[in-house]
Structures are given as structure tokens and as C-alpha cells.
Symmetry: C2
């Protein structure tokens, strides 16, 4: 029997607040620190590990977190989710993104079909389509092969797929699975579409229009932009476009598209990278085999999220440490810092995934909560961040918990030895150094050169960023955020906070404004 | 007589805390809201305006802020800075970036020269060099014109110039001043350099090595990377590289470079976009005339920052409202939200500019401060952010003050009419709508669809993003951050917080580790 209770009603949460806090600087110094690095680590998929030695936890805190996980029924709630309960209560929807990469539990039927079979069918249809494009069986009207794929979508139809594309672009080129360059048009700013269109050869481009409802204004506007460009080039737009949409959308059976691939209401935009939303563009760019590996990595990590033992469940553990930092230690933000240039847009994707899921003030029943929920998420790749905002992270007046990601090997493999080390070694040395610098600090009589330390971080370490480890990394954060939503008792799968802006923007465009809205409209010459 | 006092010692700060706070939802509703939009606006350079109607201020708060500005001697401190005082006390340096774009006060002599004349001389040398490259007078060894410029630098040598390049790329293409494509190599991750090198034609590329000291490890490493690539292509590296460095650096007079252009210790990396650091790459990419316009815009805004009347000084006003939000209202972060795809990396630059300048816990004398200093800065372009993290901004448990930027016109001018409005109108309608949605909210019986409002924002509005308005925008934020540093009594011009990581990374690479550092090194196979 699952009960959905607010965090502050749980006895285990009250107990957690009573546990003595950890002096990070103290515990991470000397041989004790070395022991922690060995001990506070949990295996992830694909040989990766989530290491939380530099978090403000010890056995007592972890024990209290395990009790909280149990009382909050995190494992049971995940189970009910993947078995097809209506966990997205606000929108009365199932939450099925895990089914795009595997069957964790019972067969889930909805809309009269087995949903796992439905998602696999779409993957197979996409794979077949992509193979025909790559083989030159589907071509432009002149019978020439397409060489570029352009995704038209916004929010979850943009950030996730774009981050994944950038993460694998160099890997695919190195491994000869790179098929087509991908570009992305998202913003309603006309300069976004215009600049992308100016940078490509439209005659050899295929466009993927992504909109679940088929009514997203930004996306339909950018579709028109693209159709104008195709028309101006003397091309038949319907021979250059495919749609990713729901079966009930106006796009689903339109002659305007070469093909339509389907998603459904059970996968929110920000959780859709493993659905047809990511599948079409990534399969076209890298081949369906690479996309399948990406799904395999995610599926493998999903299985680890099932573990009821907190210390063997990297996602649940990461989630609970985050809750501890947010609700007991009182930290308002988390920085995501991948030491991998290929993950340059991964923080922007996590920003949506996390802040849109858990940036809520009411619980799943619509009642206000009396505690902090989702934190601010931001980040940039290291080592770039080190030469930028790390100053504040090291010596600012607020403590910001850090989530590092690092890989032992680069993707391309080209390297150079300077001062007896490769660039890859320097990269890894920097992330190791940063963790210790943040945790332990360094005393200096000159207070301006003093580092207080006590600044917590974790690191996910892997061998290499490849399709499988990327899938596992994505699933890690998706599931972490889901577990945090369970703890905070919010609905992580709706986004009512985006609605008011839409309503008011329509009013501005219809010139139905008064008061401040009218003045701002005038100011902007609308 | 200037006195450098901590914020919490100022009587006007204590008075500020006593002023009644503004109910934003209340004051922004109805005709009063319209009046505020008209009244709470201050002109900026290039026809832009800083509008702060949706901030939690009224005449009483503004009066108290004006007293704070006076007691903190902000105008006098700026005056002493641009007249050449050693304001960067920690490093015993003058702070002269304003001189790269104009002479605000007295002639400043340092190192035996007039520094304004020195910066102008470097601009002229760069202009001459760029014109020769564009005219085909400086070519590769085969006598062919260069078509690509690649900046090698990190931190301030990367983020600012990159953001400015992206901001003007489409404008320059539209106005036929686009001369060469620019690329950037920054990260020590070997995949960064390798991917950029794989994407360009090295035989027709000119590289700009940027390092003030000539010793930045990441940058020198990436230089070697590039030299290897040039050598492998059978090319003479010295015919493809220029340096931007200080006159005393080992790079200054080396035969390894076609030319060297100079900066000095009086311009910090994050304030160097208007120096040779930005000048070389931007002049090569867009022509020196465009770079000169960029400087003109910044110079014009600098002059507005001189105004002693708070309500006529957009930078001082923005700074003080930020201090009020941070130290009285207690908000830990600020989001920067440009409604312009061309400003896609402007938030990343501001993140460095702000967090590295004011993320300090000690005052300029090295004594700990008892109040919050620089906030977390993050952001992405709207409308993309609306479909992402805006959920938390609207309905999350924490309030995040917002800094919007919007332009009435697009850069490229290509547009499409859908549902009776252009994309540019939709873009502008969205930012107008968001300001009001955040400020006023909307009551709904369904608490999940309820918007509390009371979330403060400001907007900088301009006609178009062009070289001049971009320069003004940059100067606005540079000067805002400077004024905030004065209020907080911190040294905004050093960055001791980046040092410890460097020291520990060196230790890792030398295998001189123990404890946790050794374990992390092992974990990462270093």
C-alpha cells in the first residue's frame, strides 16, 4: 500500500535533521579521506561509478537516509510507476519513458496496446527509415542522398536530443558511424531558423518536426520558416520533412511529411530523449545501431535503480543526498560540471530535466508544501568553468554542492604530451584536484588566499563517453530526479508553470492588453 | 577622501533594511502598473533603456538606495578607478579596461606610457594586420587567403570573445562585413582541440594564441595541439599564428608568431573583451570597423555610468537593486534571459564576469565579511528557457530575480507570419508576457495552476543587437558588477579562488599525492 506523504510529515525526516552533520574538511583529510574514496562508491552501468566520498555524509547520515527512502517508499513508488500507475496525477497520465528502453515490470497496456511493443515498433520504423536514407533509397526529388538532418522542436524536443548529439558526434566520427550532420532549430527568434537555414544546403537536408500535440506555436512557426526556405529553393517540402508526434495529432497522417513516427502522452518532453523524439534525429545522424546502444545503456542503469538497498542504488542515493543538501543543509543550487567537452550541453538538458520536474510549490494533491523543493541547476564543462565561476564556488559566501562527471579516456584519442602528461591526464588531474580542493580547502594567513573547504561534491567516473555510458548517465539523472520528486511528494511530470506566459503572450499578439502588459507591449513595439 | 567600508557598517544600509518592502503583485496590477513601466526606466546608450518597473522597488526604496550609493561613494570610487588608482589591491594593480574604449578622466600613466595611447596603438596595429589579412597581403605560405580564425584561450580569453562573436556573426553576414569564420579552442580536454581542428581547413586558418602571462597551461597545451596539426599538414606553424599577450611574456618577441599584440596586467581576463583579447579575433572575423563600433557603444555606456544621480545611471541602479535583492530580500541567484538567439553565450560570459568578480568572502583588506556577496548567475535564451527551467522560476519554492534583454528587431530580417504575427513579434510578445506573469501571477482555485507572482525582473530593451548596442550591453554589466563590488567592499579584480585547484592538479600530475587525492587520481587512472 503506497501512501503519498509530504516530506515534513515523515518521522525519518525529523530523525535525519537530528543526525550530527559531517565536518567534510576533517573527514576528507589524511588516510580517512582515502578510505572514504574507496568506501563511498556505488557501481553504475557500463563500468561507471557514483562516488560520493566528498559529500557531507557518513554512516549515520546514510543510515538515516536509508530510513527516509524506506518510509517514503521510493522503491515501491518507482515500481508502481513502471508498472503503469497514473503517477502524473495532475494530467491523469501514466509515466512510461522507461519502457522506451526496456521492460522493468509488468506488461503495460494503454490506448489498447502493449506500450513496450508500441515504443519498439516506433524504434524499428525509425531504424528502417534511417537505413533507407543512409542507403540512398530515400532521397531528395533529384535522387540525391541527404547529408544533413535538422530537428525542429523546443524544450524537451531540443535540449535533450541536442545534448545527446553533441555528446556522441566526435565518438561517431571516430568509430565511422557518423552518417549525417545534425542541426537544431528551436527558438521562435527568427534569427535562429534563418541562421541555421543559411548554414546548410537545404536541397540535401531532411527536417524532423517534433511536436507531441502538433500545436506547439514556436515549432509550427519554425516549420513554416523551413517550408518557405524549401519553396524558395524550388523544392517540395513534403519530400524533405518527417514528423515525430502523437498518433492523434494533426501531423500524424498528413501528406506534408515523408513519414510520421509516434510518441504519446505518457512521455514528457524532458524525458523523451530515448523515445522517437531523440530516436529519429540520433538514428539519422549516427545510425540506428548507435541509438540502440544508447537505449541499452539507459536500460542497464534503470535496472540498478530498482535496488531496494540504498547503498546499491546510485540514483536513489544521489537523490537522497540531494534532498539532504537541500532540506537539511539548506543549499539552494547544484552545479553540474562534466569534465568532457562533448557534454557541453548536458548541463542545459539537466537544467530542464531537474528544474521543470521538481520546481514546484504544491504537492501532488495541489496542497502547498512547507519545504524547499527542486534546486537551481547550472553548469559548464570543466576545465572551462575553473577559469570562470569556480571562484565563487571556492570562495563565495554561499555553498553550492557540485556534481562532477569524468572519463578516463577521451573520445577522439588524438592527444599531445606537454610537461610529461597528456591533455587527457591534465583533464583528469584537474577534476581530482578540484574535488579535494573543494572538500579540504587550504589554510592561509592571507585570508584572501584562504580556502575554507567543506564544499561538497560527488563524481560519476567512467572509462569513456560512448553511446552506452551516455545512456546510463542520462538514465541516472532522470531516475534521480524522479526519486527526489517522490521524496518531495510533488508531481515531477507536469509543468503548469509554463502556461501563464503562453496565455499572456497570446493576449499581447491579439492586442488585448491593458495596464503594465500594454506598456511593455508598446515598449517592445508589438 | 574615499573610505572603503563594509556594507554592514553603513548607516544607509541599516536604513534600507527598515524601508517597507514592495508588494510587487499589488503595485504592478492595473493602471499603477502601467505608470510604473513608464516611470521606472532609465535611458542607456544606443537608444536602449533599463526598465526596472517589475523590480521590488518604489520611491522609498530608491531613495534609500540613493543614500547607500552616496555613503558607499560609488561615483567617487569609479572616478578613482578610471583615473588610475590601485583598485585591484590584492594584486597591486590598476584597473584600466575602460581605457580600451575611451578616456573617462585623467591621463593614466603606467609602465612609463600613457595607457590610453597604448591601447589605441594596439587597436591600430590589429586593424592594420586584419586589413592585410582581408586584402590578401598577409597569406599562408602558398599565397592563399586565410578564411578562418581560431582563438586559443580559456576563461576570459574565451567566454567573452566567443559570446561577442556569436552575438555579431549573423549581423555581420547581413551587413556584408563578415570576413572570416571564427572558432574557439579552450578546454584542456583533448577532444575540444581535436574536434575544432577536424572541422576546419588548417591550411587556410590563422590561430590567435591568447595568454597574458604566456604560461597558461591549458592554452600552451592547445597551442602544441595546433602546432602538431599544422606540422602534420606540412605547414609552417609560425606562418599561421599570432599572439595576444603582455609585452613581458615569453610570447611577445618570439619568432613563432606572425605578430604579437599586447595587453597588460591592468585588464583582467573577464574584462578583456574590449582589449586586444577580443580585438584580434573580432577584427579578423568582422573587420576592424565593426570592432571600433563595438568599442564606441561601450564608451557611450561608460559615460552614463559616471552619473552621480542614481536614477540616471543604469549601471549603478542595476547594481544597487541587485544588492537590495541579495542582502535585504535574501535571494541567492539571478537568471539572465536574453530574448535573442545571438546572445546564446552571453549568460555564460556574465556568469564568469559576475561570479569570478564578486564571489568573494573577504573584503578588499582580507577580512571576512558578514554578508552575502556575489550571487549565482545562470541563464539561457528565451524562448528556449520558457520551455525548460521557467517552471521553477514561476512556481518553485525559491524566488530568483530575472534580468531580461530584448530587441524590437531581429538581426537577419528574414521572418514569417503565422497566426497574424511575425516570429519577431512572437518573441517580443513572450518577453512582455513573462515579465507580467512573473510579477502579477494569476490566482487559480486549482493550486497547481496557481501563480503567486511577486517574482521580480528587469528588462534592457533595444532596437537591435548590433556592434554598438552589444558594446553598451557589455559595458552595462561590467560596470554594474564593479559597482556591486564597491558596495560589498570586495576586490572584484582578482581571483585567488582559482589557485588551489591549479596547485593540486600539478601535484597529481607529478604523482606527489596522498590520502583522498591519491585515491581520486587512481580512480581516474592518472
Amino acid at each position: 500500500m503506497i501512501t503519498w506523504n509530504n516530506l515534513d510529515t515523515l518521522a525519518s525526516f525529523q530523525d535525519l535533521k537530528e543526525v550530527k552533520t559531517v565536518d567534510l574538511k576533517d573527514v576528507m583529510s589524511g588516510e580517512n579521506g582515502a578510505e572514504r574514496v574507496k568506501k563511498y562508491s556505488v557501481p553504475m552501468a557500463e563500468g561507471m561509478a557514483y562516488n560520493y566520498a566528498a559529500k557531507k555524509v557518513d554512516d549515520q547520515v546514510l543510515e538515516a537516509l536509508a530510513k527516509l527512502a524506506e518510509e517514503a517508499q521510493l522503491a515501491e513508488k518507482f515500481e508502481t510507476l513502471y508498472n503503469g500507475a497514473v503517477v502524473n496525477t495532475g494530467e491523469n497520465r501514466l509515466v512510461l519513458h522507461h519502457l522506451t528502453r526496456g521492460q522493468l515490470g509488468d506488461t503495460v497496456e494503454a490506448d489498447g496496446v502493449d506500450k513496450r511493443a508500441f515504443y519498439v515498433e516506433q524504434q524499428n520504423r525509425i531504424a528502417e527509415f534511417a537505413q533507407k536514407v543512409h542507403a540512398g533509397e530515400i532521397t531528395n526529388a533529384a535522387g540525391e542522398k541527404f547529408n544533413t538532418v535538422v530537428q525542429i522542436g523546443i524544450g524537451g524536443s531540443d535540449l535533450g536530443p541536442r545534448a545527446m548529439y553533441l555528446a556522441l558526434e566526435n565518438w561517431a566520427k571516430k568509430h565511422n558511424t557518423f552518417k549525417m550532420e545534425a542541426k537544431f532549430i528551436s527558438n521562435v527568434d527568427p534569427d535562429d531558423a534563418a541562421a541555421v537555414l543559411n548554414s546548410i544546403d537545404v536541397a540535401h537536408s531532411i527536417f524532423v518536426l517534433v511536436s507531441k500535440s502538433g500545436t506547439t506555436l514556436e515549432t509550427l512557426t519554425n516549420e513554416s520558416f523551413v517550408k518557405d526556405a524549401l519553396k524558395n529553393a524550388g523544392l517540395d517540402a513534403s519530400k524533405h520533412m518527417i514528423a515525430v508526434t502523437s498518433e492523434t495529432s494533426p501531423l500524424a497522417k498528413s501528406d506534408d511529411y515523408l513519414a510520421a513516427f509516434f510518441m504519446d502522452d505518457y512521455i514528457g518532453g524532458r524525458f523523451s530523449s530515448t523515445s522517437a523524439v531523440g530516436g529519429a534525429v540520433l538514428s539519422l545522424a549516427f545510425g540506428p545501431e548507435v541509438f540502440a546502444q544508447f537505449l541499452d545503456g539507459a536500460a542497464e542503469e534503470d535496472k540498478l535503480s530498482l535496488n531496494k538497498d540504498l547503498l546499491k542504488n546510485p540514483e536513489m542515493l544521489d537523490a537522497l543526498i540531494g534532498v539532504y543538501e537541500r532540506n537539511v543543509l539548506g543549499y539552494p543550487a547544484t552545479a553540474v560540471l562534466p569534465y568532457s567537452q562533448a557534454l557541453s550541453r548536458f548541463p542545459a538538458h539537466l537544467q530542464q530535466l531537474d528544474m521543470e520536474s521538481n520546481g514546484k510549490s504544491v504537492n501532488r494533491f495541489g496542497d502547498p508544501v512547507n519545504y524547499a523543493t527542486g534546486p537551481i541547476i547550472f553548469g559548464e564543462p570543466g576545465t572551462n568553468g575553473q577559469h570562470s565561476f569556480y571562484q565563487l564556488l571556492h570562495q563565495g559566501t554561499d555553498i553550492v554542492p557540485l556534481q562532477f562527471v569524468g572519463f578516463r579516456n577521451s573520445q577522439i584519442g588524438t592527444d599531445v604530451v606537454i610537461q610529461d602528461s597528456t591533455s587527457q591526464q591534465k583533464l583528469c588531474a584537474n577534476v581530482a584536484a578540484q574535488i579535494v580542493a573543494f572538500a579540504c580547502g587550504k589554510d592561509d594567513e592571507n585570508r584572501n588566499k584562504n580556502f575554507e573547504g567543506g564544499r561538497p561534491s560527488s563524481i560519476i567516473v567512467g572509462d569513456q563517453l560512448d553511446p552506452k555510458s551516455l545512456g546510463a548517465l542520462l538514465a541516472h539523472f532522470e531516475n534521480k530526479i524522479m526519486f527526489q520528486g517522490f521524496v518531495w511528494n510533488v508531481n515531477s511530470f507536469d509543468q503548469e508553470g509554463v502556461q501563464l506566459g503562453k496565455v499572456l503572450a497570446k493576449r499581447v499578439l491579439a492586442h488585448e492588453t491593458d495596464g503594465a502588459l500594454k506598456e511593455y507591449s508598446d515598449l517592445l513595439n508589438i
